[in-house]
Symmetry: C2
Subunit: 334 residues, 2 copies
């Protein structure tokens, strides 16, 4: 087949531009075709059989990229910081892939890209690939699609992938927290330490960034974070990594190089101690579990389309049947 | 059994305080025992068999309460507004239950209650039941536990239940959006319209509240929201409910009565058009699907504890096997 497509080169070129065949797309991605990267991520985003097929193909090609998660409350300046980090990484000569995860919005029919337009400064740089991702539909969508999209970038040869998510919400925090190094971006004077605590952000942070550090309240936020870190017994005993707190003004670029230095220190420490391999193993086990649940969920969805399901919902509505008994009937029928 | 416990009244009283038996707890809840309500919600929160047993028991007793979701970005003033609404509802003579959903934090080992302490003003009022909920563990936890906790309050006879969640995150928005009426709380001057759009909040809003309306930027936020609503074809055609926009200063209580009036107008409209019944049917169908997935997930988890699972993860780690093929092997072994 590969020989055939080479023979009909002119025609193959036309076909290549439009293909949605994962096998061909993966070949093109490995060959350095950036538009194939975009299309492959679209396949992954849409889910279903082509996404799983893509996963099968990219998996053996992956495992080389280093992922850095950036998260924090809305408006903390994550996009600006990401933007600055891209420039820094590019200046060091490395290529970089970026996934900006947007919560889904069926209203707009897609991700709302307003504040990401700025990132298009890098649009002409082949060494940068930026992609905004959103998924609709079931809850696990983003959680499954993100590692898959990372593997596409991994297979494409990007040595670093930045994953930016809004840091409030179980799914979103989990996605950011499953990076190799997770950077949590907060602002002074906003009560962010408490909000971050509530959102579960403190648990996933490997590096804290106090962005907009030219505003009042920096010392208070630093003190709050340090107090919270002091409560962690493993950190207290010196066994666990203590997340450094870096001050930045992302708008002016101040402190951004220190953020990247902190990320690299964390990386070096994780590689030394073997924790990186351990984290990645845990992440693969989590992903395997999620894929198993996804397969089972598909079975359940298939049943949910059937007449039995509608009949059961009718009985539940009349309260002659409870949803637990109904669910057991459905599952026992699988 | 009931007769027996009445005979041994003194002893039964002692046992009653400590029971974790769902059957007994549900009896006590129906009899008006508020501490049993708290314990039953704890059972639901922890999940597992007692939660499902509780669901079976409370389901036939439920279907009477009206649920109002309150959501919005962190710091929008949801707790203060909730607080004010409680006072208003109590003044009208009605009892009210409140569920404040907190994102989970394994760090603190539970919900972080700081800003809810204020709500304890109502602690001595038997007509108010306030409960902060958090779940750890799997993603679907909160989504399953919340309707279950609502049914406990329903069975306890609360005619209104307020459900407060932070409005960023897929799970959290979904929980708030599955109330009978959903109130989205935003602030002027913060770019909240765009953030709300990104977070999917506009889709779930039945009533918009611009809280802190004594600050600059109210007109701009109102205009942005109206523009966004104008884009909805069903609203534009006059077929769908157009969410009213209410200005409040929750700290002073200003406008809170109008929020409640808007909620009641939405309720009346939904009852008239039959949309309330339709929404509830959809919600039950969604819940049934979620319970089915939960049951299947348990099967998957049981497998994930076994030696086969660890072996497969090892092969995936060595990249001699991809997670999709591994997942299919697991599922075919079910």
């Amino acid at each position: 087949m590969a020989a055939g497509s080479r023979e009909e080169c002119g025609h193959a070129k036309l076909v290549r531009v439009r293909t949605r065949n994962p096998v061909e797309l993966v070949e093109q991605v490995v060959a350095g075709d950036r538009s194939a990267v975009a299309r492959l991520i679209s396949l992954v985003e849409r889910g279903g059989d082509p996404a799983r097929e893509t996963g099968r193909l990219t998996f053996p090609l992956s495992g080389k990229t280093y992922t850095v998660g950036l998260t924090g409350p809305p408006g903390a300046g994550k996009s600006t910081l990401t933007d600055r980090l891209i420039a820094l990484i590019r200046a060091s000569g490395s290529e970089v892939g970026v996934l900006a995860i947007d919560p889904s919005s069926p209203f707009s029919g897609g991700a709302f890209l307003g504040d990401r337009v700025r990132m298009q400064d890098h649009a002409l740089d082949r060494g940068v690939f930026i992609r905004s991702m959103a998924t609709r539909g079931h809850l696990g969508g983003l959680a499954l699609a993100t590692p898959e999209a990372i593997r596409v970038l991994d297979a494409a040869g990007f040595p670093v992938v930045l994953v930016e998510t809004v840091g409030v919400g179980q799914v979103e925090v989990e996605i950011a927290g499953s990076a190799d190094t997770t950077v949590v971006v907060l602002n002074p004077g906003t009560g962010d330490a408490v909000q971050a605590h509530k959102a579960g952000l403190l648990e996933v942070a490997d590096v804290f960034v106090i962005n907009k550090a030219d505003r009042p309240g920096v010392k208070e936020l630093e003190r709050d974070l340090n107090n919270m870190l002091d409560y962690d017994p493993a950190i207290h005993a010196g066994e666990a990594w203590r997340p450094p707190i870096v001050r930045t003004v992302a708008n002016s670029g101040e402190g951004v190089d220190e953020v990247w230095a902190a990320v690299n220190r964390h990386r070096a420490r994780m590689e030394e101690t073997g924790e990186l391999a351990e984290r990645r193993r845990r992440r693969l086990a989590d992903e395997l579990r999620a894929i198993v649940v996804g397969l089972l969920e598909r079975r359940a969805q298939r049943l949910a389309g059937g007449p039995d399901f509608a009949g059961l919902v009718g009985q539940i509505e009349e309260r002659t049947l409870d949803p637990y008994t109904a669910a057991e009937r459905i599952v026992s029928g699988l």
